[in-house]
Symmetry: C2
Subunit: 148 residues, 2 copies
């Protein structure tokens, strides 16, 4: 196993949550920080392969579940029959998912917090978090007319 980029502070981040800084974990953190977009286990595995970090899917999932437990990442689903993961310590944001090319964009504006207060008042339901995703056709795909 080789380490991708020893210059990062991923090691410290991991130690902070009492996780040993192994090459695979550092590389996963690295990818999550670089892309800043939701990735799935296969994409992570590919990233590790590319950097000659010899892993198998089980380890990837174990790393992801460990990160989840420690609150480093969030698990999300875009109705694909699998999970995606992204860093947890990001500002409140949501996604634009292009149904033509699959591209995922972030949007940050969100006026849901008032709705949450309403829900507490009217339903007595305490919201801990929410998911809001928009599906449609992105700008590029509209131009390319490769949508129906």
């Amino acid at each position: 196993m080789k380490r991708i980029n020893p210059s990062h502070n991923c090691k410290d981040e991991l130690n902070e949550v009492e996780l040993r800084a192994t090459p695979a974990r550092i590389a996963v953190m690295d990818l999550l920080e670089k892309t800043n977009l939701p990735v799935d286990a296969t994409m992570i595995k590919d990233h590790l392969d590319k950097h000659h970090i010899d892993t198998d899917p089980a380890t990837v999932f174990r790393i992801l579940n460990m990160f989840l437990e420690k609150g480093l990442i969030k698990q999300i689903s875009f109705n694909e029959g699998k999970f995606r993961y992204e860093l947890a310590n990001r500002e409140d944001h949501h996604h634009l998912i292009c149904q033509t090319c699959g591209k995922i964009e972030d949007i940050s504006e969100c006026a849901i917090s008032e709705l949450e207060k309403d829900i507490k008042k009217k339903k007595g339901f305490i919201v801990s978090h929410h998911t809001l995703e928009f599906y449609g056709v992105c700008h590029d795909c509209q131009k390319n007319q490769n949508y129906i």
Copy 2:
């Protein structure tokens, strides 16, 4: 195979979208209409078993995919590693998912349409639909104090 309740108009609904009205399909429609809440394939299978309609999971999924294609139902995901399904012809609404007891409530108010216009203007992204789900603790579970 026995039919659950021949009094329904499910048969007509199915014929309208050019699907043959088989006992299994009628029973699935029936359940979706009765619960009006998102159910998964296992719950549907259980419902069929209970009514002595002898099916297997493959058929349930084939029925659901057929209903999806015809636009009768919607597929949604609550980050459970599986899909749930609910009738499509319902007013715009979202869900409150209790992380303690798993209960799912509907809420209908939704001020997202303005946000969608904004997204079109700022990002050039055309939204076809969105998903918005709230996770938290429901009223009952707060009372029962079986949450942390």
